[in-house]
Protein backbone atom coordinates (compact mmCIF):
# COMPACT_ATOMS: atom_id res chain seq x y z
CA UNK A 1 0.00 0.00 0.00
CA UNK A 2 2.67 2.50 1.04
CA UNK A 3 4.90 1.33 -1.79
CA UNK A 4 2.07 2.09 -4.14
CA UNK A 5 1.63 5.59 -2.69
CA UNK A 6 5.37 6.33 -3.01
CA UNK A 7 5.22 5.13 -6.56
CA UNK A 8 2.31 7.43 -7.27
CA UNK A 9 4.10 10.36 -5.67
CA UNK A 10 7.17 9.81 -7.88
CA UNK A 11 5.01 9.51 -10.95
CA UNK A 12 3.28 12.78 -10.15
CA UNK A 13 6.64 14.53 -9.70
CA UNK A 14 7.81 13.21 -13.03
CA UNK A 15 4.67 14.37 -14.84
CA UNK A 16 5.67 17.91 -13.76
CA UNK A 17 2.39 19.62 -14.51
CA UNK A 18 2.53 23.38 -14.49
CA UNK A 19 2.04 24.55 -10.94
CA UNK A 20 -1.08 26.54 -10.14
CA UNK A 21 -1.35 28.93 -7.25
CA UNK A 22 0.04 27.42 -4.09
CA UNK A 23 -2.39 26.96 -1.29
CA UNK A 24 -6.14 27.11 -1.12
CA UNK A 25 -8.86 27.97 1.32
CA UNK A 26 -12.12 26.14 1.75
CA UNK A 27 -14.88 28.37 3.01
CA UNK A 28 -18.03 27.53 4.91
CA UNK A 29 -20.52 30.36 4.75
CA UNK A 30 -22.94 31.03 7.61
CA UNK A 31 -25.66 33.64 7.32
CA UNK A 32 -26.10 35.00 10.84
CA UNK A 33 -28.74 37.59 9.98
CA UNK A 34 -27.70 39.42 6.82
CA UNK A 35 -29.98 41.33 4.44
CA UNK A 36 -29.03 38.79 1.73
CA UNK A 37 -26.78 41.34 0.01
CA UNK A 38 -23.56 39.67 1.17
CA UNK A 39 -24.92 36.28 0.01
CA UNK A 40 -25.64 37.65 -3.45
CA UNK A 41 -22.15 39.13 -3.68
CA UNK A 42 -20.46 35.99 -2.36
CA UNK A 43 -22.32 33.98 -5.00
CA UNK A 44 -21.17 36.47 -7.59
CA UNK A 45 -17.58 36.05 -6.36
CA UNK A 46 -17.91 32.33 -7.08
CA UNK A 47 -19.79 33.04 -10.33
CA UNK A 48 -18.60 33.15 -13.93
CA UNK A 49 -17.26 36.72 -13.92
CA UNK A 50 -15.04 36.59 -10.87
CA UNK A 51 -14.55 32.83 -10.56
CA UNK A 52 -12.74 32.83 -7.23
CA UNK A 53 -12.08 29.09 -7.58
CA UNK A 54 -9.18 29.93 -9.91
CA UNK A 55 -7.39 31.45 -6.91
CA UNK A 56 -7.89 28.34 -4.82
CA UNK A 57 -10.95 29.64 -3.01
CA UNK A 58 -13.79 27.16 -2.68
CA UNK A 59 -17.16 27.05 -0.94
CA UNK A 60 -17.47 23.79 0.94
CA UNK A 61 -20.67 22.22 2.19
CA UNK A 62 -19.56 21.24 5.67
CA UNK A 63 -17.73 23.15 8.41
CA UNK A 64 -15.75 19.94 8.97
CA UNK A 65 -14.06 20.48 5.61
CA UNK A 66 -13.56 24.21 6.02
CA UNK A 67 -10.49 26.35 6.69
CA UNK A 68 -12.52 29.53 7.01
CA UNK A 69 -15.89 30.21 8.59
CA UNK A 70 -17.24 33.10 6.52
CA UNK A 71 -19.98 34.85 8.44
CA UNK A 72 -22.47 37.51 7.33
CA UNK A 73 -24.88 39.47 9.50
CA UNK A 74 -24.73 40.87 13.03
CA UNK A 75 -25.38 37.42 14.63
CA UNK A 76 -29.03 37.21 15.59
CA UNK A 77 -30.00 35.55 18.85
CA UNK A 78 -31.68 32.76 16.88
CA UNK A 79 -28.54 32.04 14.81
CA UNK A 80 -25.97 32.28 17.56
CA UNK A 81 -26.21 28.66 18.65
CA UNK A 82 -26.00 27.26 15.10
CA UNK A 83 -23.00 29.50 14.43
CA UNK A 84 -21.20 28.28 17.54
CA UNK A 85 -21.91 24.66 16.61
CA UNK A 86 -20.51 25.24 13.11
CA UNK A 87 -17.35 26.81 14.57
CA UNK A 88 -16.92 23.96 17.05
CA UNK A 89 -17.22 21.46 14.19
CA UNK A 90 -14.22 22.90 12.34
CA UNK A 91 -10.77 21.34 12.50
CA UNK A 92 -7.76 23.39 13.58
CA UNK A 93 -6.23 25.54 12.26
CA UNK A 94 -9.31 27.55 11.45
CA UNK A 95 -9.98 31.13 10.51
CA UNK A 96 -13.04 33.31 10.98
CA UNK A 97 -13.98 35.88 8.35
CA UNK A 98 -16.54 38.60 8.99
CA UNK A 99 -18.15 39.47 5.66
CA UNK A 100 -19.85 42.86 5.42
CA UNK A 101 -20.43 45.81 7.69
CA UNK A 102 -23.12 44.09 9.80
CA UNK A 103 -20.78 41.21 10.64
CA UNK A 104 -18.17 43.82 11.52
CA UNK A 105 -20.58 45.52 13.93
CA UNK A 106 -21.79 48.52 11.95
CA UNK A 107 -24.59 48.95 14.45
CA UNK A 108 -27.03 50.20 11.84
CA UNK A 109 -29.35 47.26 12.04
CA UNK A 110 -32.32 46.39 14.16
CA UNK A 111 -33.39 46.08 17.74
CA UNK A 112 -30.35 45.36 19.96
CA UNK A 113 -32.43 42.80 21.88
CA UNK A 114 -32.59 40.64 18.76
CA UNK A 115 -28.92 40.44 17.78
CA UNK A 116 -25.34 40.92 18.85
CA UNK A 117 -23.18 43.65 17.43
CA UNK A 118 -21.18 41.63 14.96
CA UNK A 119 -19.24 38.38 14.79
CA UNK A 120 -16.55 39.74 17.14
CA UNK A 121 -19.00 39.39 20.03
CA UNK A 122 -18.90 35.58 19.80
CA UNK A 123 -15.86 34.46 17.80
CA UNK A 124 -12.29 35.66 17.23
CA UNK A 125 -12.28 37.41 13.83
CA UNK A 126 -9.21 36.93 11.61
CA UNK A 127 -10.37 38.36 8.29
CA UNK A 128 -12.42 41.55 8.01
CA UNK A 129 -14.18 42.30 4.74
CA UNK A 130 -15.91 45.70 4.92
CA UNK A 131 -18.67 46.97 2.66
CA UNK A 132 -22.45 47.14 2.50
CA UNK A 133 -22.35 44.76 0.82
CA UNK A 134 -18.69 44.34 -0.22
CA UNK A 135 -18.52 43.85 -3.99
CA UNK A 136 -17.16 40.58 -5.42
CA UNK A 137 -13.72 42.05 -6.10
CA UNK A 138 -13.37 43.22 -2.51
CA UNK A 139 -14.40 39.80 -1.23
CA UNK A 140 -11.91 37.99 -3.49
CA UNK A 141 -9.11 40.43 -2.65
CA UNK A 142 -9.47 39.93 1.11
CA UNK A 143 -9.70 36.15 0.86
CA UNK A 144 -6.70 35.92 -1.44
CA UNK A 145 -4.79 38.12 1.01
CA UNK A 146 -5.58 35.60 3.74
CA UNK A 147 -3.59 33.02 1.78
CA UNK A 148 -0.55 35.28 1.72
CA UNK A 149 0.71 34.10 5.04
CA UNK A 150 4.36 33.06 5.55
CA UNK A 151 5.06 29.98 3.48
CA UNK A 152 2.32 30.79 0.98
CA UNK A 153 3.28 32.31 -2.33
CA UNK A 154 0.83 34.78 -3.76
CA UNK A 155 -1.24 33.19 -6.51
CA UNK A 156 -0.14 34.33 -9.92
CA UNK A 157 -2.28 36.94 -11.59
CA UNK A 158 -3.57 38.34 -8.32
CA UNK A 159 -2.62 41.92 -7.58
CA UNK A 160 -1.02 42.64 -4.22
CA UNK A 161 -3.48 44.12 -1.78
CA UNK A 162 -3.24 47.54 -0.21
CA UNK A 163 -2.90 48.29 3.46
CA UNK A 164 -6.63 48.37 4.11
CA UNK A 165 -7.02 44.95 2.56
CA UNK A 166 -4.68 43.15 4.93
CA UNK A 167 -6.46 40.57 7.04
CA UNK A 168 -7.09 41.87 10.52
Amino acid sequence: MFLLLRHLARQRREIALPRGPRGSLHLRHVDAGSCNGCEHELQATAGPFHDMQRFGLFITASPRHADVLLITGPVTTRMRHALEVAYASMPEPRLVAALGDCALGCGLLGDPREHLNGVGDVLPVDIRIPGCPPDPETIARHLVAAMERPGHARPRGVPATGGDAAPG
Binding site: S34, N36, P48, R78, M79, G110
Partner: protein, 474 residues
Protein backbone atom coordinates in the same frame (compact mmCIF):
# COMPACT_ATOMS: atom_id res chain seq x y z
CA UNK B 1 -54.45 62.63 -9.56
CA UNK B 2 -54.01 63.39 -5.87
CA UNK B 3 -56.52 61.63 -3.70
CA UNK B 4 -57.17 58.64 -5.98
CA UNK B 5 -55.64 56.30 -3.44
CA UNK B 6 -56.91 58.08 -0.31
CA UNK B 7 -56.83 55.71 2.65
CA UNK B 8 -60.03 55.24 4.60
CA UNK B 9 -59.58 54.34 8.25
CA UNK B 10 -62.31 52.66 10.24
CA UNK B 11 -62.26 51.54 13.87
CA UNK B 12 -64.23 48.57 15.18
CA UNK B 13 -64.37 46.67 18.46
CA UNK B 14 -63.17 43.06 18.73
CA UNK B 15 -66.75 41.90 18.18
CA UNK B 16 -66.88 43.76 14.84
CA UNK B 17 -63.62 42.62 13.27
CA UNK B 18 -64.93 39.46 11.63
CA UNK B 19 -67.95 41.33 10.26
CA UNK B 20 -65.68 43.97 8.79
CA UNK B 21 -63.56 41.31 7.09
CA UNK B 22 -66.64 39.47 5.80
CA UNK B 23 -68.01 42.73 4.36
CA UNK B 24 -64.69 43.46 2.69
CA UNK B 25 -64.58 40.02 1.09
CA UNK B 26 -68.22 40.29 -0.03
CA UNK B 27 -67.38 43.60 -1.70
CA UNK B 28 -64.60 41.94 -3.69
CA UNK B 29 -61.81 43.17 -1.45
CA UNK B 30 -58.58 41.47 -0.47
CA UNK B 31 -57.19 41.55 3.06
CA UNK B 32 -53.53 42.15 2.24
CA UNK B 33 -52.02 42.29 5.73
CA UNK B 34 -52.87 41.93 9.38
CA UNK B 35 -50.58 43.19 12.11
CA UNK B 36 -50.56 44.30 15.71
CA UNK B 37 -49.71 47.72 17.10
CA UNK B 38 -50.14 49.65 20.28
CA UNK B 39 -52.31 52.76 20.32
CA UNK B 40 -51.22 56.03 21.91
CA UNK B 41 -52.88 54.91 25.16
CA UNK B 42 -50.82 51.69 25.19
CA UNK B 43 -53.76 49.47 24.27
CA UNK B 44 -52.90 46.70 21.82
CA UNK B 45 -54.77 46.69 18.55
CA UNK B 46 -54.99 44.62 15.41
CA UNK B 47 -54.93 46.38 12.07
CA UNK B 48 -55.93 45.03 8.68
CA UNK B 49 -54.93 46.48 5.33
CA UNK B 50 -57.76 45.86 2.87
CA UNK B 51 -57.71 46.57 -0.86
CA UNK B 52 -61.28 47.31 -1.89
CA UNK B 53 -62.30 47.96 -5.48
CA UNK B 54 -62.93 51.62 -4.58
CA UNK B 55 -59.68 52.18 -2.67
CA UNK B 56 -57.61 51.09 0.29
CA UNK B 57 -59.03 50.66 3.76
CA UNK B 58 -57.31 50.35 7.12
CA UNK B 59 -59.34 48.56 9.78
CA UNK B 60 -58.26 49.32 13.34
CA UNK B 61 -59.45 47.05 16.09
CA UNK B 62 -58.39 48.07 19.63
CA UNK B 63 -58.20 45.14 22.04
CA UNK B 64 -58.63 46.27 25.66
CA UNK B 65 -58.21 42.63 26.81
CA UNK B 66 -55.48 41.82 24.27
CA UNK B 67 -57.72 39.19 22.65
CA UNK B 68 -58.89 39.29 19.05
CA UNK B 69 -61.16 36.96 17.11
CA UNK B 70 -59.17 34.89 14.61
CA UNK B 71 -60.04 35.58 10.98
CA UNK B 72 -57.86 32.82 9.50
CA UNK B 73 -60.93 30.74 8.66
CA UNK B 74 -62.16 33.65 6.52
CA UNK B 75 -58.75 34.55 5.06
CA UNK B 76 -56.31 31.59 5.30
CA UNK B 77 -53.55 33.81 3.92
CA UNK B 78 -53.42 35.63 7.28
CA UNK B 79 -52.17 32.59 9.22
CA UNK B 80 -48.60 33.84 9.50
CA UNK B 81 -49.79 37.38 10.22
CA UNK B 82 -51.76 36.25 13.26
CA UNK B 83 -48.95 34.04 14.52
CA UNK B 84 -46.48 36.90 14.20
CA UNK B 85 -48.83 39.32 15.98
CA UNK B 86 -49.02 36.81 18.82
CA UNK B 87 -45.30 36.16 19.08
CA UNK B 88 -44.11 39.76 18.74
CA UNK B 89 -46.97 41.74 20.27
CA UNK B 90 -48.67 39.31 22.65
CA UNK B 91 -52.07 39.40 20.95
CA UNK B 92 -54.14 36.26 21.49
CA UNK B 93 -56.37 35.07 18.68
CA UNK B 94 -59.47 33.14 19.69
CA UNK B 95 -60.70 30.30 17.56
CA UNK B 96 -57.51 28.75 16.27
CA UNK B 97 -54.59 26.59 17.35
CA UNK B 98 -51.53 28.74 17.86
CA UNK B 99 -48.20 27.52 16.59
CA UNK B 100 -45.18 29.77 17.20
CA UNK B 101 -43.76 31.48 14.13
CA UNK B 102 -41.20 34.04 15.27
CA UNK B 103 -40.56 32.38 18.63
CA UNK B 104 -38.36 29.30 18.53
CA UNK B 105 -39.38 26.96 21.33
CA UNK B 106 -37.10 23.98 22.03
CA UNK B 107 -39.84 21.39 21.73
CA UNK B 108 -40.47 20.64 18.03
CA UNK B 109 -44.03 19.58 18.85
CA UNK B 110 -44.79 23.20 19.71
CA UNK B 111 -44.14 24.47 16.20
CA UNK B 112 -44.42 21.42 13.94
CA UNK B 113 -47.56 20.01 12.41
CA UNK B 114 -48.00 16.48 13.74
CA UNK B 115 -47.81 13.94 10.93
CA UNK B 116 -48.43 10.28 11.72
CA UNK B 117 -48.53 7.05 9.76
CA UNK B 118 -46.53 3.98 8.85
CA UNK B 119 -42.91 4.67 7.93
CA UNK B 120 -43.19 8.44 8.21
CA UNK B 121 -39.80 9.83 9.05
CA UNK B 122 -38.47 13.34 9.50
CA UNK B 123 -35.61 14.98 7.66
CA UNK B 124 -34.24 18.10 9.31
CA UNK B 125 -32.40 20.63 7.15
CA UNK B 126 -30.83 23.90 8.22
CA UNK B 127 -30.66 26.56 9.49
CA UNK B 128 -27.18 26.34 7.90
CA UNK B 129 -27.34 24.99 4.36
CA UNK B 130 -24.71 23.46 2.12
CA UNK B 131 -24.48 26.32 -0.37
CA UNK B 132 -24.40 30.08 -0.05
CA UNK B 133 -27.99 30.45 1.07
CA UNK B 134 -29.82 32.35 3.76
CA UNK B 135 -30.62 30.71 7.08
CA UNK B 136 -33.82 28.79 7.70
CA UNK B 137 -34.84 25.42 9.04
CA UNK B 138 -37.01 22.92 7.18
CA UNK B 139 -38.55 19.85 8.68
CA UNK B 140 -39.66 17.36 6.05
CA UNK B 141 -42.06 14.59 6.89
CA UNK B 142 -41.46 11.94 4.29
CA UNK B 143 -42.30 8.36 3.37
CA UNK B 144 -39.31 7.11 1.44
CA UNK B 145 -38.47 9.93 -0.95
CA UNK B 146 -41.99 11.32 -1.05
CA UNK B 147 -42.68 14.50 0.95
CA UNK B 148 -45.92 14.42 2.90
CA UNK B 149 -45.52 17.77 4.56
CA UNK B 150 -42.93 20.49 5.15
CA UNK B 151 -42.71 22.78 8.15
CA UNK B 152 -40.62 25.83 7.43
CA UNK B 153 -39.20 27.41 10.53
CA UNK B 154 -37.96 30.82 9.46
CA UNK B 155 -37.20 33.96 11.46
CA UNK B 156 -33.71 32.78 12.34
CA UNK B 157 -32.65 36.15 10.95
CA UNK B 158 -35.17 38.24 12.86
CA UNK B 159 -33.43 41.52 13.60
CA UNK B 160 -36.35 43.52 14.99
CA UNK B 161 -36.13 46.00 12.11
CA UNK B 162 -39.70 47.23 12.48
CA UNK B 163 -39.12 48.13 16.12
CA UNK B 164 -35.80 49.71 15.20
CA UNK B 165 -37.51 51.91 12.61
CA UNK B 166 -40.15 53.04 15.07
CA UNK B 167 -39.44 56.20 17.00
CA UNK B 168 -37.27 57.59 14.23
CA UNK B 169 -38.14 60.44 11.91
CA UNK B 170 -39.41 58.99 8.62
CA UNK B 171 -36.25 59.82 6.59
CA UNK B 172 -34.12 58.09 9.27
CA UNK B 173 -36.42 55.07 9.37
CA UNK B 174 -36.01 54.48 5.62
CA UNK B 175 -32.43 53.09 5.81
CA UNK B 176 -33.64 50.58 8.42
CA UNK B 177 -36.45 49.42 6.12
CA UNK B 178 -33.96 49.24 3.26
CA UNK B 179 -31.87 46.72 5.16
CA UNK B 180 -34.76 44.31 5.49
CA UNK B 181 -33.53 42.84 2.20
CA UNK B 182 -30.89 43.80 -0.35
CA UNK B 183 -32.58 42.07 -3.28
CA UNK B 184 -35.87 43.88 -2.61
CA UNK B 185 -34.44 47.12 -1.22
CA UNK B 186 -36.19 49.35 -3.76
CA UNK B 187 -39.60 47.67 -3.50
CA UNK B 188 -39.52 47.83 0.29
CA UNK B 189 -38.33 51.43 0.52
CA UNK B 190 -40.70 52.69 -2.18
CA UNK B 191 -43.58 51.02 -0.32
CA UNK B 192 -42.42 52.71 2.90
CA UNK B 193 -41.91 56.10 1.24
CA UNK B 194 -45.31 55.93 -0.47
CA UNK B 195 -46.97 55.10 2.85
CA UNK B 196 -45.33 58.10 4.52
CA UNK B 197 -46.15 60.38 1.60
CA UNK B 198 -49.77 59.22 1.57
CA UNK B 199 -50.08 59.92 5.31
CA UNK B 200 -48.62 63.38 4.82
CA UNK B 201 -50.99 64.12 1.97
CA UNK B 202 -48.14 64.36 -0.53
CA UNK B 203 -48.36 63.58 -4.24
CA UNK B 204 -45.29 62.77 -6.40
CA UNK B 205 -44.51 64.80 -9.51
CA UNK B 206 -43.75 63.23 -12.88
CA UNK B 207 -39.92 63.01 -12.58
CA UNK B 208 -40.22 61.30 -9.21
CA UNK B 209 -42.75 58.79 -10.50
CA UNK B 210 -40.53 58.02 -13.47
CA UNK B 211 -37.39 57.68 -11.32
CA UNK B 212 -39.01 55.29 -8.84
CA UNK B 213 -40.47 53.17 -11.62
CA UNK B 214 -37.02 52.99 -13.23
CA UNK B 215 -35.49 51.82 -9.94
CA UNK B 216 -38.21 49.20 -9.41
CA UNK B 217 -37.77 47.77 -12.89
CA UNK B 218 -33.97 47.70 -12.55
CA UNK B 219 -34.43 45.73 -9.35
CA UNK B 220 -36.87 43.36 -11.04
CA UNK B 221 -34.38 42.88 -13.90
CA UNK B 222 -31.53 41.50 -11.83
CA UNK B 223 -33.87 39.53 -9.60
CA UNK B 224 -35.59 37.76 -12.49
CA UNK B 225 -32.23 37.03 -14.12
CA UNK B 226 -30.96 35.69 -10.81
CA UNK B 227 -34.04 33.54 -10.28
CA UNK B 228 -33.80 31.92 -13.72
CA UNK B 229 -30.14 31.10 -13.06
CA UNK B 230 -31.02 29.61 -9.68
CA UNK B 231 -33.71 27.41 -11.23
CA UNK B 232 -31.14 26.11 -13.72
CA UNK B 233 -28.80 25.42 -10.82
CA UNK B 234 -31.67 23.57 -9.14
CA UNK B 235 -31.80 21.02 -11.96
CA UNK B 236 -28.04 20.94 -12.49
CA UNK B 237 -28.25 22.73 -15.85
CA UNK B 238 -24.82 24.34 -15.56
CA UNK B 239 -24.86 26.28 -18.86
CA UNK B 240 -28.11 27.97 -17.90
CA UNK B 241 -26.94 28.68 -14.36
CA UNK B 242 -23.68 30.22 -15.62
CA UNK B 243 -25.36 32.22 -18.39
CA UNK B 244 -27.95 33.79 -16.13
CA UNK B 245 -25.44 34.42 -13.33
CA UNK B 246 -23.46 36.32 -15.95
CA UNK B 247 -26.56 38.26 -17.10
CA UNK B 248 -27.33 39.19 -13.53
CA UNK B 249 -23.79 40.47 -13.09
CA UNK B 250 -24.12 42.55 -16.26
CA UNK B 251 -27.43 43.97 -15.01
CA UNK B 252 -25.85 44.88 -11.69
CA UNK B 253 -23.00 46.62 -13.48
CA UNK B 254 -25.55 48.69 -15.41
CA UNK B 255 -27.26 49.52 -12.12
CA UNK B 256 -23.95 50.47 -10.54
CA UNK B 257 -23.11 52.71 -13.48
CA UNK B 258 -26.43 54.51 -13.15
CA UNK B 259 -26.87 54.85 -9.42
CA UNK B 260 -23.49 53.97 -7.90
CA UNK B 261 -24.64 50.94 -5.91
CA UNK B 262 -25.06 47.34 -7.05
CA UNK B 263 -28.26 46.92 -5.02
CA UNK B 264 -29.57 50.47 -5.48
CA UNK B 265 -29.07 51.29 -1.80
CA UNK B 266 -29.70 54.93 -0.99
CA UNK B 267 -31.60 55.60 -4.21
CA UNK B 268 -35.05 56.08 -2.66
CA UNK B 269 -35.87 58.98 -0.33
CA UNK B 270 -39.04 60.16 1.37
CA UNK B 271 -40.76 62.97 -0.51
CA UNK B 272 -37.98 63.53 -3.02
CA UNK B 273 -35.99 61.95 -5.81
CA UNK B 274 -32.59 63.43 -6.46
CA UNK B 275 -30.84 60.76 -8.53
CA UNK B 276 -28.18 62.51 -10.62
CA UNK B 277 -28.57 60.17 -13.66
CA UNK B 278 -26.11 61.99 -15.95
CA UNK B 279 -26.89 61.78 -19.66
CA UNK B 280 -23.70 59.85 -20.47
CA UNK B 281 -24.51 57.19 -17.86
CA UNK B 282 -28.06 56.90 -19.16
CA UNK B 283 -26.83 56.47 -22.72
CA UNK B 284 -24.34 53.81 -21.63
CA UNK B 285 -27.06 52.02 -19.69
CA UNK B 286 -29.38 51.99 -22.70
CA UNK B 287 -26.65 50.52 -24.85
CA UNK B 288 -25.69 47.85 -22.31
CA UNK B 289 -29.32 46.95 -21.66
CA UNK B 290 -29.95 46.52 -25.38
CA UNK B 291 -27.02 44.06 -25.58
CA UNK B 292 -28.17 42.29 -22.43
CA UNK B 293 -31.71 42.09 -23.78
CA UNK B 294 -30.57 40.35 -26.95
CA UNK B 295 -28.53 37.78 -25.04
CA UNK B 296 -31.05 37.20 -22.24
CA UNK B 297 -33.93 36.84 -24.70
CA UNK B 298 -32.04 34.20 -26.67
CA UNK B 299 -31.09 32.34 -23.50
CA UNK B 300 -34.64 32.62 -22.16
CA UNK B 301 -36.00 31.08 -25.34
CA UNK B 302 -33.48 28.25 -25.02
CA UNK B 303 -34.72 27.58 -21.49
CA UNK B 304 -38.32 27.34 -22.64
CA UNK B 305 -37.33 24.91 -25.39
CA UNK B 306 -34.86 22.83 -23.39
CA UNK B 307 -36.30 19.33 -23.26
CA UNK B 308 -34.28 18.24 -20.22
CA UNK B 309 -35.36 21.30 -18.24
CA UNK B 310 -38.99 20.90 -19.24
CA UNK B 311 -38.86 17.27 -18.22
CA UNK B 312 -37.90 18.23 -14.69
CA UNK B 313 -40.11 21.31 -14.38
CA UNK B 314 -43.40 20.19 -15.96
CA UNK B 315 -45.81 19.02 -13.30
CA UNK B 316 -43.30 19.65 -10.51
CA UNK B 317 -44.35 21.69 -7.48
CA UNK B 318 -47.88 22.43 -8.66
CA UNK B 319 -50.03 25.02 -6.91
CA UNK B 320 -53.48 25.12 -8.48
CA UNK B 321 -55.28 28.37 -9.12
CA UNK B 322 -57.81 27.78 -6.32
CA UNK B 323 -55.05 26.85 -3.92
CA UNK B 324 -53.07 29.95 -4.91
CA UNK B 325 -56.07 32.15 -4.23
CA UNK B 326 -56.76 30.47 -0.91
CA UNK B 327 -53.15 30.91 0.21
CA UNK B 328 -53.09 34.54 -0.92
CA UNK B 329 -50.19 34.04 -3.31
CA UNK B 330 -48.81 37.09 -5.05
CA UNK B 331 -46.40 38.07 -7.78
CA UNK B 332 -44.92 35.96 -10.59
CA UNK B 333 -45.69 32.73 -8.70
CA UNK B 334 -49.38 33.64 -8.47
CA UNK B 335 -49.48 34.62 -12.15
CA UNK B 336 -47.88 31.26 -12.98
CA UNK B 337 -50.85 29.64 -11.24
CA UNK B 338 -53.28 31.65 -13.37
CA UNK B 339 -54.17 34.31 -10.82
CA UNK B 340 -54.50 37.77 -12.28
CA UNK B 341 -53.14 40.61 -10.24
CA UNK B 342 -50.12 42.85 -10.45
CA UNK B 343 -49.91 45.99 -8.34
CA UNK B 344 -48.27 47.72 -11.31
CA UNK B 345 -51.67 47.79 -13.05
CA UNK B 346 -52.97 50.17 -10.40
CA UNK B 347 -50.05 52.28 -9.19
CA UNK B 348 -51.04 55.93 -9.66
CA UNK B 349 -47.95 57.04 -7.75
CA UNK B 350 -45.67 55.35 -10.29
CA UNK B 351 -45.23 55.44 -14.08
CA UNK B 352 -47.13 52.36 -15.21
CA UNK B 353 -50.03 53.92 -17.14
CA UNK B 354 -51.64 51.30 -19.34
CA UNK B 355 -49.50 48.46 -18.01
CA UNK B 356 -51.01 44.99 -18.24
CA UNK B 357 -49.32 42.04 -16.54
CA UNK B 358 -48.00 39.33 -18.81
CA UNK B 359 -49.19 35.80 -18.23
CA UNK B 360 -47.61 32.52 -19.26
CA UNK B 361 -49.12 30.55 -22.09
CA UNK B 362 -49.93 27.65 -19.82
CA UNK B 363 -50.43 28.89 -16.25
CA UNK B 364 -50.25 25.37 -14.81
CA UNK B 365 -48.82 26.50 -11.46
CA UNK B 366 -45.76 24.26 -11.82
CA UNK B 367 -42.06 25.08 -11.93
CA UNK B 368 -42.21 25.34 -15.74
CA UNK B 369 -44.89 28.03 -15.51
CA UNK B 370 -42.82 29.93 -12.95
CA UNK B 371 -39.88 29.83 -15.37
CA UNK B 372 -42.02 31.02 -18.25
CA UNK B 373 -43.66 33.85 -16.35
CA UNK B 374 -40.24 35.31 -15.58
CA UNK B 375 -39.13 35.01 -19.19
CA UNK B 376 -42.19 36.91 -20.44
CA UNK B 377 -41.96 39.47 -17.65
CA UNK B 378 -38.33 40.19 -18.50
CA UNK B 379 -39.49 41.30 -21.94
CA UNK B 380 -41.83 43.85 -20.37
CA UNK B 381 -39.17 45.03 -17.97
CA UNK B 382 -36.72 45.66 -20.83
CA UNK B 383 -39.47 47.59 -22.65
CA UNK B 384 -40.24 49.69 -19.59
CA UNK B 385 -36.57 50.38 -18.90
CA UNK B 386 -35.91 51.50 -22.45
CA UNK B 387 -38.97 53.71 -22.40
CA UNK B 388 -38.01 55.31 -19.09
CA UNK B 389 -34.34 55.78 -19.99
CA UNK B 390 -35.21 57.36 -23.35
CA UNK B 391 -37.54 59.88 -21.71
CA UNK B 392 -36.80 62.83 -19.41
CA UNK B 393 -35.08 61.96 -16.15
CA UNK B 394 -34.20 64.44 -13.48
CA UNK B 395 -34.71 65.42 -9.88
CA UNK B 396 -38.27 65.29 -8.69
CA UNK B 397 -40.28 65.68 -5.54
CA UNK B 398 -43.66 65.40 -3.91
CA UNK B 399 -45.92 68.30 -3.14
CA UNK B 400 -48.48 68.55 -0.37
CA UNK B 401 -51.88 68.12 -1.97
CA UNK B 402 -53.99 67.10 1.01
CA UNK B 403 -54.16 67.30 4.76
CA UNK B 404 -51.78 65.16 6.84
CA UNK B 405 -53.15 62.04 8.48
CA UNK B 406 -51.72 59.56 10.96
CA UNK B 407 -51.90 56.49 8.72
CA UNK B 408 -50.58 55.60 5.31
CA UNK B 409 -50.30 52.43 3.24
CA UNK B 410 -47.89 51.84 0.35
CA UNK B 411 -48.36 48.99 -2.14
CA UNK B 412 -45.65 48.06 -4.61
CA UNK B 413 -45.12 45.12 -6.97
CA UNK B 414 -41.68 43.83 -6.05
CA UNK B 415 -39.84 41.10 -7.91
CA UNK B 416 -41.53 38.49 -5.71
CA UNK B 417 -44.92 40.14 -5.61
CA UNK B 418 -47.02 42.63 -3.77
CA UNK B 419 -45.23 44.39 -0.95
CA UNK B 420 -47.41 46.28 1.50
CA UNK B 421 -46.07 48.79 3.99
CA UNK B 422 -48.31 50.33 6.63
CA UNK B 423 -47.02 53.35 8.51
CA UNK B 424 -48.40 55.28 11.45
CA UNK B 425 -46.93 58.73 11.95
CA UNK B 426 -46.89 60.99 14.97
CA UNK B 427 -45.89 64.29 13.41
CA UNK B 428 -42.68 63.40 11.61
CA UNK B 429 -41.91 60.34 13.72
CA UNK B 430 -42.82 56.82 12.63
CA UNK B 431 -44.85 55.28 15.48
CA UNK B 432 -45.47 51.96 13.75
CA UNK B 433 -43.96 50.47 10.60
CA UNK B 434 -45.17 47.16 9.22
CA UNK B 435 -43.72 45.58 6.11
CA UNK B 436 -45.38 42.60 4.44
CA UNK B 437 -43.38 41.49 1.46
CA UNK B 438 -44.13 39.21 -1.48
CA UNK B 439 -41.89 36.58 0.08
CA UNK B 440 -43.94 36.69 3.29
CA UNK B 441 -47.10 36.05 1.31
CA UNK B 442 -45.65 33.16 -0.70
CA UNK B 443 -43.67 31.06 1.80
CA UNK B 444 -46.71 28.97 2.81
CA UNK B 445 -47.22 28.22 -0.90
CA UNK B 446 -43.69 26.77 -1.12
CA UNK B 447 -44.64 24.25 1.55
CA UNK B 448 -47.87 23.50 -0.30
CA UNK B 449 -46.07 23.02 -3.61
CA UNK B 450 -43.57 20.63 -2.03
CA UNK B 451 -46.21 18.31 -0.59
CA UNK B 452 -46.28 15.19 -2.76
CA UNK B 453 -42.97 15.95 -4.44
CA UNK B 454 -39.79 13.98 -3.84
CA UNK B 455 -37.07 15.28 -1.52
CA UNK B 456 -34.59 15.95 -4.35
CA UNK B 457 -37.20 18.15 -6.05
CA UNK B 458 -37.51 20.44 -3.05
CA UNK B 459 -34.50 22.62 -3.90
CA UNK B 460 -35.89 23.06 -7.41
CA UNK B 461 -39.38 23.92 -6.16
CA UNK B 462 -37.88 26.29 -3.60
CA UNK B 463 -35.76 28.01 -6.23
CA UNK B 464 -38.72 28.34 -8.59
CA UNK B 465 -40.17 30.71 -5.98
CA UNK B 466 -36.72 32.02 -4.94
CA UNK B 467 -38.15 33.82 -1.92
CA UNK B 468 -36.10 35.93 0.44
CA UNK B 469 -35.68 34.92 4.04
CA UNK B 470 -34.44 38.39 5.03
CA UNK B 471 -37.64 40.03 3.70
CA UNK B 472 -39.69 37.76 5.94
CA UNK B 473 -37.56 37.62 9.06
CA UNK B 474 -36.90 41.40 9.13
Amino acid sequence: MPGVDALRVTTVGPWGLRGEVEDALAAGGVVEALFAAHGADGVAEVRCVVALPDGPLLVRCPLPAGVAPSVVDLVPALDWDEREAHDLHGVTFEGGVHRPLVDHPEDPAAWMTPVAGTDVHQVAVGPIHAGVIESGHFRFHAVGERILHVDARLFHKHRGLERAAEGRAAPDALPVVQRACAACAVANTVAFAEAVEQARGMWPDEPMRRARTLLLELERLYNHLNDLGQICAGVGLAPGAMAFAGFKERAQRVVHGLVGHRFLFGSVAVGASDLPLPAAAVAAARRDLADLRADATRAGRSLLLDAALRDRTRGTGVVSRDEARRLGMVGPAARASGLAGDVREGSPRLWYAGFRAASPEDPAGDVAARVEVRVVELRQTFDLLDDLLSGPLGPGGATVAGSPRAHGVGRVEGARGRTVCAVELDGDVARRVHLRTGSYANWPAVARAAAGATLPDFPLINKSFELCYACVDR
